[in-house]
Symmetry: C2
Subunit: 330 residues, 2 copies
């Protein structure tokens, strides 16, 4: 099982336990400047430093080849440890490279954004984009540890926080409504200064790990975490909005759809809209997804899709739907 | 667990059990002509046919990208099944692509050479060559089934049979000496016409699966299967001899090395040399491996190597050796 630790200092304990032949840190040039204090913290491990591009461009086939070449150049062996320091793209990308280099070497994920801390760093999904589709190529590869350090969040913009809150709000709606109750006490800016912030991060991480722990390979229960993503992924690709905003847009539209099928209680949409208003998150719900992108979803098999639907706040389930029904609505 | 079946016809049962959304066969153009009868056998499954290059050139980074693109073009989804029809390179390569496409879809391996039937198709090791090193990038990915059809062997050249016999002989020396007793009754050409042939194939497959079943991820016991490969891989790369010949050369040299360390009983080398003479396999033992290639072995961690050594016929173990000892000998 992956260890989840809430302090960067804990990395020394993990390294000591594992006695790697070599340690390497994968990050971006920009982050290495911004997070110089964090690199200083791991300096004693004498890591090789490998730079990859920032943002989604890192997650491309050619960049993967370059990273694997660098792993080979610094002579990583099967007893080495790779540390990913960065947001979700660096984590996904480094986790994937680590899972195929020498058929898999250990890696530690140190996510530096709210989105990656609560979502992508957990559950072992790694991958790259391919032919314009998100995460079409990748593996399930659990990190040795995920280190969540609150200090990384202090320098994030409000927009970056909203990017992560999309997934946090989702975890509230699919499993733990106490997250929603806490969020309702705040605006985005009051939340980040409050002790409630770490509290909802931990709760959200618990929901994510509840589902991934029961279904690592995403064959059933885990697909509930995909609420908001069927439409959200397609919107994100088309409009280049942040993942968190895309998930919120996806949730709003998917709830309208499943409400029309009498699957979702009408209180859900009302509750989500109120919460967004409360938090002062303004969502443009006019964005519409391309059908060709929607049906490229990994939950589609043959003529059907496993569609995760919220039933009531804190309760969601997977419904097997004929794609025609979905097409009729969108 | 992977099913091991000894008739091509059994594929229909497996497909029926799994109800895939789509079936695709990966093979080479050349093989599709040579093995038209086998493609006819799977015709009823209406597979998409994907061609990849023949031989080790298939196992390259650029070819992997092409194969993944083809998977996407024929719209494979997470409920599809990929069938690899060919020798070890096609199996390794297709198994790897299947393990990372959509984070892994099912595949069936139909090995068509003796080497792939007894060795590479079992145990889930997939991969490609990278920066000139063999299988530097890959995964552990067990196929749904391995189908061993003896009919494929009927058209193989004697040299192709020897390629497979290298691994068969190895399994005799590391675990099951009854394989060696049977082999001693034959020359290569008498063996292929005898019912003993299928018998030793099954015994050899059993040895392979004994080790891979106990240690899929190659962290300990499985490394015993690597007897002959530390030197063999390096010889294979340098002299472009077949894998089976390279393993035999590797075994001869490694046994001399471990005998000099008083680890291996002198009867082992004598027994191997006699067997090769009996079978009429002429091995050029003058080939010597490059040190730079030897130390790129996956069994090396830091300054040491996990070296698999034969102790007595049918008995081998892993010895952790300082690399200096190995360097001193080669």
């Amino acid at each position: 099982m992956t260890k989840i630790l809430y302090s960067l200092k804990s990395i020394h304990k993990i390294i000591k336990e594992n006695q790697p032949s070599k340690v390497c840190v994968v990050t971006s040039k920009q982050l290495s400047k911004k997070l110089a204090w964090a690199l200083k913290e791991v300096e004693a491990l004498k890591p090789d430093l490998i730079f990859v591009p920032d943002g989604e461009t890192a997650k491309e086939w050619q960049e993967l080849e370059k990273l694997l070449k660098k792993f080979s150049l610094v002579n990583l062996d099967r007893n080495s440890i790779v540390i990913a320091l960065g947001g979700g793209t660096i984590g996904d990308f480094t986790g994937f490279a680590s899972s195929i280099y020498l058929r898999g070497i250990k890696y530690i994920n140190i996510p530096t954004t709210l989105l990656s801390q609560v979502d992508s760093s957990h559950g072992g999904k790694t991958g790259i984009n391919f032919l314009g589709y998100k995460n079409q190529v990748g593996t399930f590869n659990l990190p040795l540890a995920v280190i969540i350090e609150k200090r990384f969040l202090e320098s994030l913009s409000e927009e970056n926080i909203i990017d992560g809150l999309g997934e946090v709000i989702k975890t509230g709606f699919i499993k733990d409504p106490s997250i929603l109750s806490i969020l309702r006490r705040h605006t985005v800016s009051s939340l980040v200064r409050s002790p409630d912030f770490l509290k909802i991060i931990k709760k959200s991480v618990a929901v994510k790990n509840y589902f991934t722990g029961k279904d690592l390979k995403d064959n059933g229960l885990r697909q509930i975490l995909n609420v908001g993503h069927t439409i959200g992924h397609a919107v994100e690709l088309k409009y280049k909005v942040s993942h968190g905003r895309a998930v919120l847009i996806g949730m709003l539209q998917e709830i309208e759809f499943t409400e029309s099928l009498k699957l979702t209680d009408p209180s859900v949409l009302k509750s989500l809209k109120n919460l967004l208003k409360h938090l002062d998150i303004d969502i443009n719900n006019k964005m519409n997804a391309e059908w060709g992108i929607i049906i490229h979803d990994k939950k589609v098999t043959g003529s059907h899709i496993n569609f995760p639907a919220i039933i009531m706040p804190g309760n969601a389930k997977i419904i097997r739907l004929d794609l025609k029904l979905l097409k009729g609505f969108f």
